[in-house]
Symmetry: C2
Subunit: 186 residues, 2 copies
Amino acid sequence: MPKIVNERADILPALGEVFREHGFEGASLSAIGERTGLGKGSLYHFFPGGKEEMAAAVLAEIDTWFAAHIFKPLREDADAARAIAQMFDAVERYFESGRRICLVGALALNDARDRFGPRVSGYFAAWTAALEDALIRAGHGHKKARGRAEEAVATIQGGLVLARAMNDSTLFQRILTRLKKRLLDD
Amino acid sequence: MPKIVNERADILPALGEVFREHGFEGASLSAIGERTGLGKGSLYHFFPGGKEEMAAAVLAEIDTWFAAHIFKPLREDADAARAIAQMFDAVERYFESGRRICLVGALALNDARDRFGPRVSGYFAAWTAALEDALIRAGHGHKKARGRAEEAVATIQGGLVLARAMNDSTLFQRILTRLKKRLLDD
DNA sequence: TCGCTTGTGTACCGTTTGGTAAAGTGTTAT
DNA sequence: ATAACACTTTACCAAACGGTACACAAGCGA
């Protein structure tokens, strides 16, 4: 009986895509099995906690990725403006110009939020806080930096909603471009 | 056998709340029955098409409401700036300061979008088009009005995501206030 | 070669799912 | 009074659900 995977981290990307497509409730074990190529036996071997543990693992991986590639540079890069510009590049690549949605945002919208409350709120709290920090260092007034950061993160999330609703990835790119310009030039 | 309701429109609000809470897949017939107080028999009497017809009816009602209370004033009010201001008031009331999510946006994020594609895209297309129209009449440049309208609608949607994710309705209010100011003063 | 660990496949569990059928009960118009 | 209609109740269905149990195969160190 040959191994298919040997690290549970190997199937997290596929897991993430299933949850993105169907949501938490809609992602059935059969859909998960199909996408990952694993049977129930293997899935419950890697994730004894079932669907909930799978989603939690995906969220944790997302957290880690964003912390390393976006939040940390925003907080620590000596050139704050450059970090902000890089955030926009990373966001556009990560969300594939709006063709890919934000799983955390999607989970936040229905009752799945209650299952993953701290993870969901922590993700957005970390993002806005890091961006606020960068904005201040880039010369924005302390008082307005938090508001601008919140609004920017919201605009990105909303851009994903609109781009997916209208099936128009150029819309997401336009929104990002405008937002980036406003944050850096203003 | 007493009537519980006699117009199917009477149960649309309750239906909408169930879909908002659980999403399309997650809204089981038993949950729907509980919330509406109707058994399956009655539900299938009013909606022979099942869940899909229920959700479609809710979406149609939402479309109608927004068309009458938001899109139409934006397009037709002689005082465009006032129409925009009223849009923000209506949005804050309708979404209960971020405690209530946008069902259309939520459906857009997972595979439920494919079931209701035209309705979902039409909703956002109508909103952005109406706001663009008002922005032009309020003195914004023709060329940038569309971009600003798209970004504004996206920010509202994203504000709902963030407010719900962080369980903070003041966040939604702050975002609306900032956005309104920028659209009207800039 | 022997166990042991780590995965995998399959059969199975009880429950819930969306949906159907039909009988029954009120109301209303004739 | 009666027949038609509108709605509700109940029972029922096959399929799918999340999850469990367990036998079994491969790789590996001793």
